[in-house]
Amino acid sequence: MASKAAGKATGGTGRFTQDEQRRDSDHVSFLKHKGFRWLWIALGLCGASIAGYLLIDQQPRPNGGTWYGYTLGTIGFALILWLSLLGVRKRRINPGVWSLKAWTSAHVYLGLSLIVIGTLHTGFQIGWNVHTLAYVLMLLVIFTGIYGVWVYATLPQSLSANRKEMTRKQMLEALTAIDRQLESAAQPLGRAEADLVIEALGQDIFAGGPLARLTGSYPGCATARALKSIGGSSEAATRVTALLEKRSEQLAQIRGQLRIRAMLEIWLFIHIPLTIALIAALTAHVISVFFYW
């Protein structure tokens, strides 16, 4: 009721103050969010863990099985479960007052802190067992995540520059328009050259598989082939060459877009399945520990 009353006082539903703050523009990236709030929290967590590890006399030796080891393990397990919930949070916007940027920020820094917490939890005892499997999986998840942070921080600019204010739909429409012109322009060409154009027009522009998509290199590109082979100084040939050049530029933009998007997303195809494997391994790790206790 108190918030309702406060809302009354500003004339609206109470969002005015909140909106004004927002409009004052919270214009910072997820890494810098709230003056690196989560970085400091993560550093604090790591510092405390290390201090505990050094100061507490663990008997017979530092190990996941001492009370301190259990504490670190519990913190780590809870963190991993919470971090994996980002996938749900991202797809569930309402209800609740929260921001995905804050969640991402916390996800990154707390995730990184797991390197310290997890490692201390092992007590540096590594072996060929399910416990180490969980540890290695965790590190792999974290390293793919680091790649993710790196591409998120560096690639968006080139994505924007490549787009040149065009939407995906407009890029495809531009290609269709070029193709329509190519089709009629190629009518006067000879059989062999016309076939090259037909092949270029007929080729699926997405052909080439994931590798081509990631590298942006399409060795089988029929447009490039046609461009190389069609020569001559006839009016038709010049026009077709010009159009093929336009087409290959348009293809380059579309493929560039695909490449950058693929690089921004590819790591998720490892990060997420590994997370699921990690949670499975962790479950096995926890059960086995309790079973053999």
Binding site: R15, F16, R22, H27, K90, P95, K101
Partner: protein, 842 residues
Amino acid sequence: MFKVAIIGSGPAGLSAAARAAALGLSHVLLEKTDHLSDTIYKYQKGKHVMATPSNLVLRSDIDFDAGKRETILGIWDEQIAGHKVNVKYHAEAKAIRGTGDPIPGSVQQIVSRARDGTKNVKEIQRHAPPYAIELTNGETVMAENVILAIGTQGNPNRMRCPGADLPHVQYQLDDPAEYVDEHIVIVGTGDAGIENARGLAEDPAQRNTVSILNRGTEFPTAKAANVSALMADHEAGKLTVRNESETKSIEPGWITLTTRDGEIRIRCDRIIARIGSAPPRAFVEECGIEFTSEDRGAFPKLSPVFESTAPGIFVIGALAGYPLIKHCMNQGHDVIEFINGNTDLKPADEPIIAAKFANLPGNRSTEEWLEFLRANVSILNGMNPLQMREFMLDSEAKFYAPGEVIFERNAPGSSLFGIASGSVAVEVNPADPSITIPIETGSIFGEVGLISGRRRGATIRAAEDTIVVEISRLAALKLQSQVPSAKKAIERISIERQLLQMFGSGLTREDVAPLVEAAQVQEKRAGEIVVTEGADDKDVYIIRRGSMIVEKQIGDRPVFLSYLPAGSYFGEMAVVDGSTRTATVKAAIKSEVIRLPGEGFLELLEKNPRLRERALKDMEGRRATNAFIEGQKDSFSGAVDLYSKTAQFLVDNGIGEATDVLLIDEKLCIGCDNCEKACADSHDGLSRLDREAGKTYAHLHVPTSCRHCEHPHCMADCPPNAIKRGPDGEVFIDETCIGCGNCQRNCPYGVIRMDAKPPKKPSLLQWMLFGKGPGPGEASYSWRKKAAEAEGVQKPKQAIKCDMCSGIDGGPACVRACPTGAAIRVSPDKFLTFTKLTEDAE
């Protein structure tokens, strides 16, 4: 000779004709086409027609309920036939003249304006009924009374060259597939002309040779998408765009064109002219009907029984200012009753108006209340009872006890208040609510919100038992166009208040009276310069609506200094210290300024030393900003350039008139479209923003998304008045939307879409675990279509747009759902500053 002739067979005309037939009056219904109700007939096939307002009862001899266009037209055709209405098709009225004696002293003045601004006044002597209605086919219809129900659609502009009256010149194209093997010339390069040309050339199997004539080389009146599609067709050889060409003459089989390179004569079997349409005002005025003002939006002057200034000619429907079908039909019914002598008839909206007065103290009847408001609120004095009724439909009467808050400072609101009894107190100083200024009975308040479109400047409380009438923005605009004296009064009061507000509480009305007298309201178009750097004029300006940008020439190019929202003033520096103008001020968007002569301002300053102090202090602040940016220019010229160009870019993209706008920092945007998905999931499964579309400068991207303009363009022409400003300042469309698409056409930023609300999706959990449904975000069109078919209920297409997530905790979902912080929502007065525009977010 008929007792009554009804011109136009839209909902209003049909309803009138049906009533006349039911009463057994001798009547004729004149329709220019070969079918009834042409406007609705031209709706796209299967369109869902709405029946708003739902609280208004229908009073008509023909039925109407929301439904498909075909169903409604079918019912009307059947019932018009059933009532044995005398319909005359292909009867287009050309002129209406009285055939009786000249009416002494009744002269109609018609003012026509040429493009160069000169006025031409023509006078017409009115004659008494009966009226002779001349039709375009040469026939004449005689009637004692005429009901004009022609709507506002108007007639297509006709070609005027020799041969324009040949039968192969047409003004409409119903089905492009109808024509084969023809040489067709399209005249006019608006959207209609371009769409027709492309339609005719679309299928090569039709073997049409299509040319489209463009007077110039640009396409100023067409949508960009249409123009690029047309040019692509031209390049592909499907049709020919002939630039700088005009028609000289037409003959069967041929057309002669004047082009840049001289005359050419080309084959032509058909001409389709799409050169706009003329509003029906000229025709209506020629009939002897006076309008309330010269304003483009003005309506005919009418009596309480819809009679115009020409006795015996009645005006109803959209032309009278009632665009909704139900209103039109009720008026059709009522006007025949009036003509038939039924004077006791109460309008159908009586219960709606009565409900508005139900909670007021003082037991008055509806008529008494209307008269009470009209007589007591000075700006309403000039209205007649019919206007008062119409006015009251969009207004509210409210009672406030002493001390009760009427509105709060910073609350959004664009309505105007009139005090019918009692008085109110304005808390002019937010820090000390005890300092108040009274406003007395008969006066108005809230005019700043109405004019500037910005938030309320002060809290206002009732000082005693007070009855006010709250006039909605729409009703206030109508009032100003109908009653010129009201417009003047509002203007004067607003100038006075703005002057008082500008200088705090130190001044009195007497102090500013001479300045108010000398003040002038000037309209400035976007980009127009108000003050030029280096000039030595001395006037002071207050921004009344819109916004301005301040620029200074540094080195060889203009540098953006600051953004001035409505309510700011400028130009005082030159007056106070006698210098020349230090910077250029120009309108960011279409704006209005109040020009105060420098001498008057100087006098005021001399009389009020405290005011002078304040002005000097304000000036210091501005000088500091200017000096800061000039100083930066030497050390960081890159940053200043970036700031200046980014600010200009944002202003060019409509940020200058925005109140809350979504921007995307493309240095941070990973293209995940989570903003769009969150938007769709927060609002019935449809996204109200298009992230990718829109312009980008220096990695700042303005996506296609609502700017919540100070003066929303979308509100301009909404028949059910469904677009409103909500409690948090958001511009939203409520459920009374009839799906007409006017707002979509009026929005310069393309942020409104027309779509049907899709069925509910399976839950997120079901999708994550079992893959059920389309998942987060907007479902594909095919999924929505299939799900809607499975559900079986056809939902109408309605206008949808951003509502700033009103009613959702935490605010806009687009911003909250951005994982990297790329999406921000800002307001121009806070964001168009040097610090904000040059800060490094990464």
